[in-house]
Amino acid sequence: MKRALLAVLLLLAGAHVAWAISDPAEELRDPKQEARAEQIGRQLRCLVCQNESIEDSGADLARDLRHIVRQRVVAGDSDAQVVAWMVARYGNFVRLSPPLEWQTLLLWGSPVLALGIGGLVVLAHRRSQPKPPAPLSEAEQARLRDLMKT
């Protein structure tokens, strides 16, 4: 009850601020909470610009989502809970770093796959290399010595 009251008070305290990108008024008063909110926000995709995180985006929706992230942080949600809140509404697409699932296996496996393909190419190349030439015979060596002298 005390915590809930505190959360409400904190929410009300933050309610007067105007929201805009890199607007200091958007930030939470508690620097620790603000740092956490920023860190969470940087993992969340802006659904409008899509290649920016909501922390970097100037879109209206990103600003609303930043606001919600801060509300949830103040309310005492863990990082995972805030991300889960977003995923419940926007799916895993909202996460800039997708979780390892069977659908993302190819994505996460691509470095290993690339390494494997590269290794195969190197192996194939080594095999197809011609054998080193046979050592020179006695007569050939004699001729080489002759040629080097002149």
Binding site: L47, V48, Q50, D60, L61, D64, L65, I68, A88, R89, Y90, G91, F93
Partner: protein
């Protein structure tokens, strides 16, 4: 020419043809509106609509409870007066209204006066009108932009979703069959 050589020469050609075919298919689907590379699939598909309660524009608004036992399918259309694709979509909505397809409208991040003005001058395709001025309910719906339309069945479950303007082709090929399927 050895078969190995033949394969070496043919491989790039085959790859180029396959890539060209793929690009053509994707671009064609983008042109007819059935594929949107920026589209975010809705999490609500085959789930019940999220809980909400919104004020109306001129008369009463509506709430999720109105959709839970509505008994017939309905389209929920998020729109805004400041959104050009919504204006582009508007005649299609009017045509659906003429076909007796029920559409409920939610004005997103808009002013009630501006929304009413828009409906008065261009025509009101909606059976019921609500407004989500702060855009908070829209986030619970997973909205990424306007227009966005959800087909909700008689029990309040989302059965179809489109982010972006609806085209006459979509009405004929997707919405009409679904309305029939869910008893419209």
């Amino acid at each position: 020419m050895s078969t190995r050589r033949a394969i070496l020469y043919a491989a790039p050609l085959v790859a180029a043809v396959a890539a060209g075919g793929g690009f053509y298919a994707v671009l064609h689907r983008m042109q007819e509106g059935s594929f949107d590379p920026h589209g975010v699939p809705t999490m609500l598909l085959n789930r019940r609509v999220p809980g909400f309660e919104l004020p109306g524009l001129a008369s009463a608004g509506f709430a999720s409870t109105d959709l839970f036992s509505i008994g017939h399918p309905v389209l929920i259309n998020f729109w805004a007066t400041w959104c050009p694709p919504c204006i582009e979509e508007h005649p299609v909505l009017m045509a659906m209204q003429a076909q007796k397809i029920p559409i409920w409208g939610i004005a997103y991040k808009d002013k009630a006066s501006a929304a009413l003005d828009y409906l008065q001058t261009r025509g009101n395709p909606y059976v019921r009108n609500a407004i989500d001025a702060p855009g908070r309910v829209a986030i619970d719906w997973g909205l990424t932009g306007v227009p966005e339309t959800f087909l909700v069945d008689g029990d309040g479950f989302v059965r179809w979703h489109m982010s972006g303007p609806i085209t006459p082709k979509m009405v004929k090929e997707q919405i009409e069959p679904l309305m029939k399927k869910y008893g419209g």
